[in-house]
Symmetry: C2
Subunit: 692 residues, 2 copies
């Protein structure tokens, strides 16, 4: 990819001398920052902006290893063929009119794809804003040259964006505010060839990039994207547009992209260690926070010490922190002693540490200085949250010495800032240059703090082989060519073949046989009629719960047989008493491939949609993380009437489901519903396997 | 209160010539904006800032009807007595050192309270930043005179804040950014006398105030506050600090204020039509949005039309709107036709309305102009959400004509803005002056849009009298002097006396009696042992479910009697089969008085804490609103295995509980758990009434 990022010479095909045209903006941007040779191509001009202009790219002399194309879509295929002929390895197509613009454009885009496949030339775009590199000032984009009116603040956050607005507009907005540095912005457009995966891989190797933020409306290859994220040590932030039903519909009509299921996306991104963003500026705030703290922070207590000049802001901070996995640190005795020395005697020591009375007593340098020393020495404090006001409240201490104390103690520090606009901007720039992120909204500060803190080390996955029994092979062979949903009994045999615990049950060929089963399980039992192809057993009256005597068995055996007109089988099952209902399953996601699902059952599935997904196979630790991501996961700790669920056993079931899916492409879908957690048991009570 | 807001002359007690002292800042602020007479009081100076200085307030000539006090706490009581002597009706005490500063300060504050009570003098503060009036430029505050460096943007949002930071710092921060107008800011401090209720009442009558925002850490009189809010036609926004357990703890130590239960607060605020804020700047954003749309908007479909230059921003907007009660409008055919005319032919018409291709084709004035006309004529569109970029994307139309079209159609318009900092600031100011709120973050725009749209007309409550039966009087008389929790049978009799449906049940004095009951209810039944003072019946083995034969009844009757050692009674109850479990109750809240509670039962109570509160008595409509505020309220619509719950009947139960609480001060607490919703029934199955 080097020829895209560091080309030795550039041909600009579609260069223009008309300042209202993109072909002119690109040229001006190149001239301002790019150090290599620039060759404008346009048969209409002898020269543009003082540079010799060529009739065709084939006429362009060396060195040239990148062509930027800004000509109407219909002309692009020929231009690309000429680039192939000229042996230019990479082309950035910035003009639009392709797949986003109806059938005609779609067909041109297909032609481009074909040229790529046939010739190996690499195409970036089309319908994109190209590349802006803040470090080298390489601007390969028709973004407005207004850009150059502002300072290129060099940073270590790089962006990959599937939206023109985000690449061009957002950058200028950000630059003009002057408080955030950027490394590179890649606008990927229609992704005919180069996509987010390759660019992400490039940026993860880029020494000038510490964090990558992506705005995506579709995944070119979801599975590969996740693998790249998973193996990255650099933090990655993703804002996925088109998660809601309406949003997805918008995505379809906007870039003809496949939006996918938001639950699957959120689950798999979390599994891969990706931080998910929800809004544009919030994505940048998350990125710059993680860029300052790219390493996983130490986590002892998760305790935050709040140093504030405002009791009210301390209180509201506490309310916000209470909603995250962080907590308000319980100050140690030595911190309390230190604070008592600076507080007036009437003031009780507490966290949030309200420093105002101490500032009034001894000045802000003393108050903040002593407080930060105390909390940085405090083993109960993992994070320092400092509130500052620029231009008031007698705050006149030197922030750099405080930052130094926090850095030495290896405790991340975050700063919430109010104040007079210009003074605040200066304080923010200065403090961020010291490596401490500054926020203008309190909630955003806490949100970013939590994101930094909640990151976990990506797991080195060393997955053991699946453990499957001989019985599985028997069933597998028998079923591989079956179509239609398998009945619950066979489905559970297959699950059992992968060590997934299933309820005790038996096909009863006679009432006598059913008695035997019931006697061995203990009364009451469940009796079910298994009819080929019947999915709604309960609605069809084929499920009888609480069968509690031999007499009843006999009666129901007869009734079910009549109902099924002799075509079905009768299943006798141990009745699981009132445990917590879970659901679990396996699906083939069009973007991410084999995924496992876990959820709370019953009401929780129907109304709260409390389910989590992960890409299979999953490790035991990943399965445990999935359990932890269930919104209602506290239910598993046991509560009135329900025993605690063994998370280890539940995780094993999820792991096994993953293997079952990965090993058996003939299975299209698995659904265990319910998976009942009783006292000391966790068993699949009903299940269906659908061949693919 | 006029003497606080429009005093005819002001004595400043504690005036100082030292520019580092608050007593000097107050004087400077007065001199810059206040038009009336100013009388500095300080025995140490003959004159300050060119004004004659008085030894004592008693020496101050007329006119004077407000004293501002900035002397050490210990001197304040005497100063107030002198003000009483001088017949000054109002005093604003801005110095600190009172209840917030330990026992000594607490006792001084009590002394102030006593002076108020005895003399009728009105005290504002202490420990506050007084008043800043942006319209008249009356600044009665020791806020830094830096204030005057910035423009006083006149607005119609007034604030009441229980925090010095919010009054002083926040104002200067806001002024220095220059995009939001303010009317008045009242800093209320320790509220020894004047509190948020009176100030709110004043501001609701103030013609210069359209919206009031409050930051409160405690309620001086929660009940009265809610009544004022409920009867207000002006929108009210409240940010309550100290809602979490930790936040509340912080509130205790900060202003010794009672934080209260966050669920009760949120419920009662919602009931009173108050918009609840969570963060400081977000509160201001909500206020300025509501100030532009103070009337309840028309609500036909709740449909939003998104007019954007960026497909990506349209998609993310859709995702956000999907999370609110708003929706993406289904465009009418005539809108589609109008858009088709401006779109390139390959482009399908959809909402979000991505105007970029139309802008490329015919310019932004045409594209935005035609689009806004179409959506403002569209009966399916209730809200217009316009995206703008200042300084790029060829957006160069005149926003005022678009605003005019939206205004004529009576459709609120909201604007999300990106762009170059200075150009964006100008666009924001200009557009907001036209009455359209502008936001820099997309989510905030949608959040404020939803807040404007979701407001409902405060109900004119004309509550009918409670309907209670004669049986109630009998029980009431019998129980009024009882202590300890009443047993479930008696509790339910009382509920039934207020027309609350209860499960069929009977005290059985013999096994034969129990047979009779079971026969009339139908098997299976529930048998319970009722033992005086026993609250944990289930845990004590006194509840037997599914009793399904006479034989069993006899056996259990004996067992329960043995268990209770002859001391209890035996209750036979119809067994309610598997309906949805709800809970309902009544509590006496220390801040808001009698409140009713409704929640989802079982797992939902234990883990999700899905409960809502309202101040009693509640009207039928309010009870319906409470039901609608349950997070899992969709459950009540019925789903697999559960019949829909009749919301009308449920609301009646809540209304009755409210009356029961209000009519009977002898009751401390009522808890119905569970209230079971079966097919065509909704009955209290277990309940306890605790006398107060």
């Amino acid at each position: 990819m080097e020829f895209f990022f560091k080309p030795k010479g550039i041909a600009l095909i579609g260069a223009s001398s008309n300042p209202y045209k993109g072909g002119n903006s690109i040229l001006k941007n190149l001239l301002k920052g790019y150090k290599g040779k620039i060759y404008p191509v346009n048969p209409a001009y002898p020269e543009i902006e003082g540079l010799q202009c060529y009739r065709s790219v084939t006429d362009v002399p060396d060195p040239v290893d990148l062509a930027i194309v800004f000509v109407p879509a219909r002309l692009v295929p020929n231009v690309i063929r000429e680039c192939v002929q000229r042996k230019i390895p990479g082309v950035m197509i910035e003009s639009g009119g392709f797949a986003e613009a109806g059938a005609r454009g779609q067909s041109i885009q297909s032609e481009l794809k074909q040229i790529c496949d046939e010739t190996g030339i690499r195409l970036w775009g089309p319908n994109c804003m190209g590349l802006v590199d803040f470090i080298s000032k390489r601007v390969f984009s028709f973004v407005s040259p207004t850009l150059w009116d502002y300072e290129f603040i060099r940073g270590n956050v790089s962006l990959i964006v599937q939206s023109g607005m985000l690449s061009a507009g957002f950058i200028i907005d950000t630059m003009s505010h002057g408080v955030m540095g950027i490394s590179k912005v890649c606008s990927i457009g229609n992704k005919v060839d180069v996509n987010e995966c390759e660019l992400l891989e490039y940026l993860l190797e880029d020494p000038e990039t510490a964090v990558v933020g992506l705005y995506l409306e579709s995944f070119a290859n979801g599975r590969r994207f996740l693998e790249i994220c998973r193996s990255s040590r650099k933090p990655i932030v993703v804002l996925k547009g088109g998660k809601s039903v309406k949003g997805a519909a918008a995505a379809m009509s906007h870039t003809a992209s496949l939006a996918g299921n938001s639950t699957v996306i959120s689950g798999t991104l979390a599994q891969a260690g990706v931080v998910e963003a929800v809004d544009f500026k919030q994505m940048l705030d998350l990125c710059r926070s993680l860029a300052m703290y790219p390493e996983i922070p130490r986590k002892v207590t998760g305790g935050v010490a709040i140093l504030t000049y405002s009791g009210g802001a301390g209180i509201v901070s506490s309310d916000f922190i209470d909603k995250t996995t962080l907590s308000i640190a319980e100050l140690s005795q030595s911190t309390k002693d230190a604070l008592e020395k600076i507080y007036p005697e009437w003031m009780p020591v507490a966290n949030p540490i309200d420093l105002w009375p101490a500032i009034e007593r001894g000045g802000s340098e003393m108050a903040y200085g002593e407080a930060i020393k105390a909390v940085c020495d405090d083993p109960n404090v993992d994070v320092v949250f400092l509130h500052y006001y620029a231009g008031g409240f007698a705050l006149n201490f030197d922030i750099s010495s405080l930052v130094e104390i926090a850095r030495k103690s290896n405790k991340p520090m975050f700063c919430w800032l109010m104040g007079e606009a210009e003074k605040a901007r200066k304080f923010q720039t200065n403090t961020q240059n010291l490596g401490v992120p500054v926020y203008r909204e309190l909630y955003r500060a806490v949100e970013c703090m939590a994101a930094v803190f909640e990151r976990e080390k990506p797991e080195k996955r060393d997955l053991p082989a699946a453990s499957r029994s001989a019985i599985f092979e028997k069933y597998k062979a028998e079923l591989e060519n079956r179509t239609g949903a398998l009945d619950e009994h066979i489905s559970k045999k297959i699950l059992a073949g992968y060590s997934i615990p299933v309820v005790e049950e038996k096909i009863a060929v006679s009432a006598e046989d059913a008695f035997d089963a019931a006697r061995s399980f203990g009364f009451p039992v469940v009796m079910k009629g298994i009819l080929p192809g019947e999915i709604h057993k309960t609605e069809s009256g084929l499920v009888r719960l609480g069968v509690s005597s031999e007499e009843e068995i006999k009666k129901i055996f007869g009734e079910l047989n009549i109902k099924m007109a002799g075509k079905g089988k009768i299943l006798v099952q141990r009745q699981m008493e009132g445990g917590l209902e879970l659901i679990a399953g396996m699906v083939r996601d069009p973007q991410f491939g084999t995924c496992v699902m876990l959820g709370l059952g019953g009401i929780f599935t129907e109304i709260l949609k409390d389910t989590v997904f992960a890409v299979a196979p999953v490790s035991h630790r990943e399965a445990l993380s999935m359990i932890g991501r269930l919104k209602s996961q506290k239910l598993l700790n046991g509560f009135r009437g329900f025993a605690p669920v063994d998370r280890g056993i539940l995780a094993k079931i999820v792991v096994s489901l993953g293997y079952l899916g990965c090993d058996n492409p003939w299975i299209g879908e698995i659904d265990i519903n319910p998976l009942i957690a009783g006292k000391n048991s966790l068993v699949a009570v009903d299940a269906v396997i659908v061949p693919s």
